[in-house]
């Protein structure tokens, strides 16, 4: 997941919308939550102007990462997230994808130390949870939000824990060398169906620092950046629940961690983010920032992670992406739906295909985040893989 300008915008819009939802109360038709309808263009730029980020620290220079401490929150920054996506396989080759994301926002730069009430806080958490039931051809989504106080939602570095209500990822003591994380989420979908996931995650690779030593620059403006690392290969085992049925599953998950306080560049419209886990032990992460004119922003970037866990930073010009197919949602918004990704320098060529066309999250905003299948070749060897793709800025016009 990337911390690109558009993404910030998207997140801030989510935040505002949720705030507004909280304050508007009723379930209005989705149109109402389109940012332009909701906020008006001038408001958005006002909002993301200097006033709103003043007081928050900016990401200006590289830092040294400390683990597990950095798995925990960095509450002085305005935004932060824990973004887990994964592909699982159950009995009879039943395929599942899942996403569990925790967003953290600081409402004010000040962190109050002296509190008269455990409920008093400047921290707000939002979480999205989705399961793609490939075999059942169903996509389930749920969302939650909470203040980061009174123990209702929060995060901690050591032992690692991030939670909102009873959705959580937390380290459980297994006595082994590698910590094991327990991921738990159960949701009531819009369709009323209950769905859930319980997984134990253990990382096969050390944390990968994206960008330059973990500093991911999003636009030319200083400070318009985030700290960004990933756990690109998390062995996952547990169960998936759809309705009354439970499936024992195993597979791979991916954790993206970013934090920062930066703002938007007006000419950036959205992004396509790829996190692909290949059968030969390599991973590819790449985010393609789209400008308003449809071109690819030069700050688009990615990371190639080899099977031993060594990262290679990728610039825009290192990667080429061709859209092979499109999908049109119920409103007529057109999403790309199949890609050809090549990295000439690595002799890598991959075809990325969504496992289901409709993996659009119609929460307070619309975005597409879904499981994908990968086929192709790495050098002279053919590879397969699974992964996740996020597409923003297509429906939020």
């Amino acid at each position: 997941m990337i911390f690109d300008v558009k993404k910030i915008r998207y997140l801030i819009v989510i935040y505002l919308i949720i705030m507004n939802l909280v304050s508007c109360g009723d379930a209005a038709p989705p149109d109402r939550y389109r940012p332009d309808v909701l906020l008006g263009a001038s408001r958005l730029s006002d909002l993301l102007g200097a006033d709103h980020r003043s007081g928050f620290p900016l990401v200006l220079s590289p830092r040294s990462f400390e683990f597990p401490a950095d798995h925990g929150p960095h509450s002085e920054f305005r935004n932060e997230w824990w973004y887990v996506t994964g592909n699982l396989i159950g009995p009879n080759n039943a395929l599942f994808g899942y996403e569990l994301t925790f967003f953290r926002f600081s409402l004010t730069p000040q962190i109050t130390d002296e509190k008269d009430s455990a409920w008093q806080t400047n921290q707000v958490f939002i979480a999205h949870f989705a399961i793609t039931d490939v075999t059942g051809d169903e996509f389930h989504v749920a969302q939650r939000y909470s203040r980061g106080g009174a123990g209702l939602a929060g995060a901690n570095g050591d032992p690692f824990k991030v939670w909102l209500d009873d959705w959580s990822i937390r380290q459980i003591d297994q006595g082994g060398d590698e910590p094991i994380w327990q991921l738990t989420a159960h949701g009531d979908g819009v369709d009323g169906e209950q769905f859930g996931v319980e997984l134990q995650l253990s990382s096969r690779k050390p944390p990968i620092l994206n960008g330059i030593d973990g500093l991911s620059q999003k636009s030319a403006e200083a400070g318009n950046a985030s700290y960004y690392y990933s756990l690109s290969r998390l062995k996952s085992e547990g169960s998936v629940h759809i309705g009354a049925t439970s499936y024992a599953v195993s597979g791979l998950s991916w954790l993206d961690r970013e934090w920062g306080s930066s703002a938007l560049s007006a000419e950036q419209q959205g992004w396509d983010w790829f996190a692909l886990q290949l059968s030969d032990g390599n991973e590819l992460m790449f985010y393609d920032i789209r400008r308003n004119d449809g071109s690819s922003d030069r700050h688009s970037a990615g990371t190639w992670i080899d099977s031993t866990g060594n990262p290679l930073h990728l610039e825009r010009q290192d990667v080429s992406i061709n859209v092979l197919d499109t999908w049109v949602n119920d409103r007529g918004d057109v999403y790309p739906a199949k890609w050809q990704i090549t990295i000439p320098s690595k002799d890598l060529s991959l075809t990325v295909t969504p496992v289901l066309e409709n993996q659009e999250l119609i929460t307070n905003v619309r975005y597409w985040e879904g499981a994908v299948d990968v086929t192709g070749s790495n050098g002279n060897r053919s590879v397969t893989g699974r992964g996740y793709v996020e597409l923003t800025g297509y429906a939020d016009r």
Binding site: L16, V22, R43, T108, Q110, K115
Partner: protein, 845 residues
Amino acid sequence: MSVLTRASLGYLRRHPWQLAQAILGICIGVAVMVAVDIANQSSRNAFVASMETINGDATHQIVGGPGGIDEALYTQLRVQAGIRSIAPIVTGSVLVADRNVQLLGVDVFAEREFRTFSSRVTAASGENARGGNDVETLIRDMLSGSGQVLIAADSVAELEVVVGDKFSLVADGISHTATFAGIPGGEATQQMSGLMVADISDAQRWLNMAGKLSRIDVKVAAGDEDLLSRIRTELPSGIELLSAAGRTQTTAAMSDAFMTNLFAMSLLALLVGVFLIYNSVAFIVLQRRPLIGVLRALGVTQRQIYRLILGEAAVLGFLGALLGVVLGVWLGEKLLVMVARTLSDHYFAVNVTDVSLASMTILKGFIAGLGATIVAAAVPAIEASSYQPSLALTRSVLESKVSSNLSRLCWAGVLFVAVAVLILWLSGRSLGAGLSALFLLILGFALGIPLFLQYMSRALERPAFVLAGTAGRLAVGSVGKSLSRTGVAVIALTIAVSATVGVSVMVESFRGSVSDWLNTTLQSDVYVGVRRGSLDPALMEELIAIPGIAGYSSSRRAWLEDSAGRTRIIATQSNANAPANVRIRDGDPDLAWRELRSGNAVFVSDAYAYRFDVGRGDRVKLNTSTGEVAFEIAAVFQNYDSNDGAILISREVYIRYFNDPQTDSLGLYLEPGVVAQEIMEKLRAVADGRQALIMNSNAKIREFSLQIFDRTFVITNVLYWLAVVVAVIGIFGAMMALQLERTKEIGILRALGMTPGQVGVLVSVQTGFIGLLSGVAAIPLGLMMAWVLIEVINRRAFGWNIDFTVPSTVLFTAVMLAVGSALLAGIYPSWYAARSRPALAMRDE
């Protein structure tokens, strides 16, 4: 239009006084009934509506003891148990611009499922507008504990604030700064008068409830027993999951007895109205004796006569009831203010903004009025139809007929009284049965009054002759000889006056008991408390250490709640062995207090003892923070400030079981020679800048308590005065009837040389005599009513234990009232009689 109808219209047109009396009698009766109904319904509806607004979609509520709920329970329910349809609430009363406002502390993130108003802001137009631009800053500010509040629109107008204004808010006697952030959204805001929404963190800070919740709202789909039992398994002992609607109902039901009593009072007014109707219709019938005789002779059937009379009554009843409903609606609004205040004084805060005018109320009043008229008219109608077609009955025949009926009536009255006594004896604790018995008693007694009149009139004829000659004898004697006219008026007046006696004696007895109790209870010299809050413990220590203070007692009043409702608990501490400020009804005070302090013992108030039928040695089970505990009742104590009864417990025991260390008030005993005023100044100096204390001498508290007491009975007074008004109208009508009837007789008297003045005096003496007899008859009836009100009605309704005392002034006043009303009512008839011209009068036939 038939001849009969025309005849009757013509008659009524010539006798507007009779018409007016009948209509007015029924009108006031109906009006009072409708008004009481409106006041009761509106205040109750307002309470239920405001509770429903505040509860929102909550189906259940998790409530704890007086100490509230540990906020960790909420986190546990959400985070560990994964229960999401819950919302935390911290609520309490605060003062803004010296007005009580309910503060509702919420978590906006949990609110969507529950309330439409608490998590949204209405972008009102004008200066209170809060545009979209501010919505996120509002949430941001609310969360970060900066004191942003939403205030209901009507309160905003009263407080005169605009968005962004800072204002001060007093909670627990400590002043805080709040910022008016906007008007809550949604449609339910009309019921939100006196409500303020804040973030839960601010509410905890202001209400001194850090770490605590007032309750947790729960939303459970109908029939989802599974979720309910899942929640119940998570609850620690002393914490209960109750139905939200049930809680509202049990709270509202606390005022049931009060409202039933008001309703009974309104029936009394209607009862007096019924007598008036009877009076009017009977008079109309009597007046038309000759006409009816002629009609019958002309072939009009009994049935037709019966229908005619009843038809007339129905028209009168219809008009009276109609006017009564209109008057009742007007009166209801006035009464509502009083009822709402009484409810707020004694039961629950109610802020009435709307008058609920249920069609049922109107229908009930209308049907009662019309029904009462027809019932009242049935007797004279039957009588009229029984007239022989021969020539009409002469007066003398009629009077002797009435006279022979008197003993039968009297026996019927005795039967009524016997039935009433039987009901009282057998009905146990039923308030309804008690009230029915009371009405039967009144009726039974009333039926004996004509005989009493006849007897008195005969007995006093001679003394009157001795005193005032022929005129005196005429005046007194005629009362007994015109019972068909005067009897019913006397009954009406007697009932009305006896009601004033009964209610006054009851209220005075009650007041006397309360006053005694206040004398006993208010033993300390100075009382210190905090308005709508509790004392800061550290400050309290300093206060009691001030030189000049010899000792102190403290008290904490809280509610214990379970599915059966709420119970008042009073925790006291005193440095005396057997504090004299609690009057023990039974047993040895020293022993009782020793038991109370020893541990598992409590005292219960009279009302509690009656309500739950318990006494010394019995056990009560209380839901404590360590689970249900049985406490032994060490004594029953006198108490008048808790309507549904109270439990008294020693402070140490209370803290141990209820986890609530708060203190509401301190009673300070001063050393001899120390002046209360000086100590109060010292207290104020110590508390300055820390907590706003309310300090009062015992005299002040006594005065204030009695003020509330008196306020409570204002409504009762209004109602019985209305009954008196009805009765005065009755006397007036009866005297008018009598004078019209006796036109010829007076003509003869005038012809025989009586001056107009003498005629006037004659009539006045007559009315005065009627008043006197009513007053005398009203005293035993009134005392009996008082006894029933005290020993039966109040006991059954509230469990009060009142000492029966009869102030002699009440009796004197009753007689004066009766005589005065009668004389007042007789002024016009006297004048009318006096001015009659003998020649004209005698030409009558």
